[in-house]
Amino acid sequence: MAAPLVLGILVAVTVRAVLYRSSLAGFISERVEVASPLNAWKRVVEGLALLDLGVSPYSGDVFHETPLIIYLFHFLIEYSELVFMITDVLTAVALYLAVQDFNKVVFKKQKLLIELDRYASDVAELIRTPMEMHYIPLKVALFYLLNPYTVMSCVAKSTCAINNTVIAFFILATIKGSTLLSAIFLSIATYQSLYPLTLFAPALLYLLQRQFIPVKLKSKDFWLYTTQYAALYLCSLVVIVCLSFFLLNSWDFIPSVYGFILSVPDLTPNIGLFWYFFAEMFEHFSLFFVCVFQINVFFYTIPLAVKLKEHPIFFLFIQLAIISIFKSYPTVGDVALYMAFLPLWSHLYRFLRNIFILSCVLIVCSLLFPVLWHLWIYAGSANSNFYYAITLTFNVGQILLISDYFYAFLRREYYLTHGLYLTRKDGTEAMLVLK
């Protein structure tokens, strides 16, 4: 299995290298879908230039990266292209190893449930076999590496790639069962962009499952483990934040990074929903709606944790998707990360209802983004509404895609426990509805 992966990596690196040397590199790095005010490479260079001039990069409103990025690129700025290619490769390898391990866990659990006779009798078609699961890790890695979104993100040198790498390592550490590493990588991911905080719940659920600790609110073990994990996470977060303080000897980075993410002052267009909404918002309600939109990202965690506590990795996937759709400055690099997980759920294909139309919507919207941007900004023959409409359609497409996968997952679970060929009381074929 390593050989096809290495081949895939080589192809991906070649594609990126070719694009770096072509004239498309400049065009791609200017694209607002790929580079947002939070992770554009131009702003990293600007921040380092300000540091050279003796001005704090956080004194203006151009640089919104964490001090970790300053530390990293202060020495590596000459090799930036290499750094981004390596981060992409690392993400792919981490996802490959994580999914490989996860497949083993899934197969073991399935065997256990079959032996315990939990499944209905006629669900043989739905049982997953090692044969079909053999190529999934490779598919996941290639889905990430060769996804046009990822390639564009890498060529634009958007630091979203670094965020993706940290999250991938966090997933790998969680699936391997290492509490400490999982907490550390999660704290780095939260430190980089606030939203991975919500991934605490699925990681905790998975680790509890791995330790065979049942999730019962009265159980002492449960609380012990939870506090242990939370303490590790919070302590590493505090350590990283304090280390950042010592870079420039000021806490300026906190309002500049986290204040910026939460209060959304910069209305540069991107593929998300925030920019036009706040460009057209009445001043009076601005604070209210900022709070509503930010809470929207975080509040699906608890209900999903209740519903999906037996399936934490699927929960992780849904949570990642919600973060990518509803974060304040999304880019296609974030979309690429959760899309890399889709091969993991390829066994749900028969239950997906709208997959064809949704994939058409997503592809057409991706193609229309640069067209309508050009018409608005350069040709002047369209206005901002055109680009906004495509943003809305793209987000609706993503939302329906995620809910379609969720529906398919829940349906498969129902069939597994109740049997595939359902009959009504009078013997005719049954219809399944959500009530």
Partner: protein, 580 residues
């Protein structure tokens, strides 16, 4: 006993009398000088510069002053209340074309410009600045109340005090420009009211709005600064200069002819000097490039001729002293007329040593580039220039794209001060000290990104564009001939605008053009629609997830059929057809 009482009484009388101990010298002296300078420009136009200088030997900050004579009370109270050390306000319409008109005496940027040095005893400079700009807005009927933190900067190297200064902590300086400000009669009237003779006597009778605003360039300014009272400089006087510069265009006013007269320009003539003025003069620039014959014939013939070295050039001026009784001997009114003796050839055009140009390049509404070209036409001397750029926050400058090239090679500035902008709080400030080699063009380029603003932050005409205030170039230009420092009181006012350090160079402050930049606009008719549509998308997600999280799968129970099915079955039974 009686002699003791008498002695005490005498002592009391001595102490009580107002001229008793110490002896206050009486009300402070003030003097007014007024002056008009007519300078024909190489392109055939004519520039008229009025200067009214009121000098008051009083220390406004220390003594409680209540008796104002020549110094206007409005400004005097302003200075003492806000502890102002220097104040410079200018309102300008038009742009001084340095390349066709030559170097200006005192250039001002298009729009309104205000810069103030406060005393070091001021505790909250920003608060004083805000109140000061609001009060000036009321005094001059200009919308200076739009000066706030988004267009105010604190320069570190430019705008050093023009008057006496012992403390130069640049945190006491504030500078703001409003490039969109329009100057009109409404601003001229309160400016004229500050003059002691108003517009009733002296040179101010020429200031009629209908003629003054029919010009290519109109700039009125107020400069207040402390100066030395005398040569020993032990005490401080306050100087208020009100200057007004207009340039009459040869084609629209002159009807194509280059002959000018006071009547043709102002539709008025001068009949008397201001009775309150200690000096009232009209200077006409009659200097010529060649010494043999003069270019200009001035009538009535001037009583005296004054030679001065101004901006590195030796110039000759015809002087009309309105206070001298000989002037109004022949006629009651003075109408100075200028006639060109021979056709002017364009060789008379002398390129100014330092001039600059600025423009925006790039296409589309996403990015752009600001380029400034600075020309040093001095044949052999290089000199440094300080460039001050204030760019509003919504044009995000990228200082790593700053490139300065001279003659194809990179030119590194010896001093850079860059203060990045904060969104909606303060603008970008870029100050650089650049060395200009002799006979060269220096190009400074910096790239920017245009921001999308909230819909309420656009002006009512958003597609007009947004103004970027002119950049300021300050330099000590080396002069060809050595100028000796003349006594400020005896030399004409136009030579003593800027304090000169030594005779080998003169100070010049130039402004470039303001820029007009378009920003991408949202659709202003759509706030409700946008809110509804975006909330709908969020609700789609919420609804789908709510359904999937709270509902479970059930096998559908057969129902007896809906109403439509039952009705259809009834009809079928009537027809005799089997039911559904």
């Amino acid at each position: 006993m009686a002699w003791a009482v008498a002695a005490v009484l005498g002592l009391l009388l001595l102490l009580g009398s107002p001229g008793g101990c110490g002896g206050s010298p009486g009300p402070p002296r003030d003097s007014l000088r007024e002056e008009l300078l007519l300078s024909p420009l190489p392109s055939g136009d004519i520039a008229a510069t009025f200067q009214f200088r009121a000098r008051w030997d009083s220390e406004l900050h220390r003594e409680g002053v209540s008796h104002y004579r020549l110094f206007p009370k409005a400004l005097g109270q302003l200075i003492s209340k806000y502890l102002v050390r220097e104040l410079h306000l200018s309102l300008t319409q038009g742009f001084w074309r340095t390349r066709t008109w030559g170097q200006p005496y005192l250039q001002a940027p298009a729009g309104a410009e205000l810069w103030v040095w406060f005393q070091d005893s001021v505790t909250d400079v920003d608060k004083a600045w805000k109140e000061l700009s609001n009060i000036l807005s009321g005094i001059f009927c200009a919308s200076l109340n739009f000066i706030d933190s988004t267009n105010t900067v604190t320069p570190t190297a430019s705008f050093k005090p023009l008057g006496l200064a012992n403390v130069t902590d640049h945190h006491l300086l504030r500078y703001a420009v409003l490039p969109r400000e329009i100057v009109c009669t409404e601003n001229l009237t309160p400016w004229k009211k500050l003059l002691p003779c108003s517009s009733k006597a002296g040179l101010a009778v020429l200031l009629k709005a209908e003629r003054l605003f029919h010009t290519s360039y109109h700039s009125q300014a107020v400069h207040i600064r402390p100066i030395c009272r005398d040569a020993s400089c032990l005490s401080v006087s306050w100087e208020l200069r009100q200057t007004l510069t207009v340039v009459f265009d040869t084609f629209s006013i002159g009807q194509g002819k280059r002959d000018w007269s006071l009547f043709k320009m102002f539709s008025r003539t001068v009949t008397e000097a201001c009775p309150l003025a200690s000096e009232s003069k009209i200077y006409v620039d009659i200097s010529s490039k060649t010494q043999e014959n003069e270019l200009l014939e001035v009538t009535p013939p001037p009583l005296s001729v004054h030679e001065a070295s101004v901006q590195g050039d030796r110039r000759t001026y015809a002087v009309y002293d309105l206070l001298s009784p000989l002037l109004f001997n022949v006629s009651r009114s003075l109408n100075v007329q200028l006639k060109w003796k021979r056709p002017q050839d364009s060789l008379d055009l002398s390129t100014p040593v330092l001039h600059a140009q600025r423009y925006v390049s790039g296409y589309g509404l996403q990015t752009g580039e600001i380029s400034t070209l600075i020309y040093n036409t001095h044949p052999y001397r290089a000199f440094p220039v300080i460039l001050l750029e204030t760019v509003p926050w919504y044009l995000r400058l990228y200082v790593h794209t700053l490139v300065i090239t001279t003659k194809g090679k990179e030119n590194k500035p010896s001093y850079i001060h860059y203060q990045p902008a904060q969104d909606r709080r303060r603008p970008h400030l870029l100050e650089m000290l650049i060395q200009l080699p002799a006979n060269s063009v220096t190009k400074i380029t910096i790239q920017f990104e245009r921001a999308l603003l909230k819909w309420t932050e656009y002006t009512p005409d958003p597609n007009h564009g947004f103004y970027v205030s002119p950049s300021v170039l300050s330099a000590l230009v080396p002069s060809v001939l050595a100028m000796k420092a003349e006594d400020a009181e005896k030399s004409p006012l136009f030579t003593s605008l800027f304090p000169s350090a030594d005779g080998s160079s003169y100070f010049v402050r130039l402004y470039t053009e303001p820029l007009l930049v378009n920003l991408p606009t949202p659709d202003f008719s759509m706030p409700y629609n946008v809110i509804c549509l975006t909330c709908t998308v969020v609700a789609v997600c919420y609804g789908s997830f709510y359904n999937l999280l709270t509902r479970t799968f059930h096998v559908e129970e057969p129902s007896r059929g809906g109403l439509a099915k039952r009705l259809a079955n009834i009809i079928r039974k009537v027809r005799g057809v089997p039911p559904l």
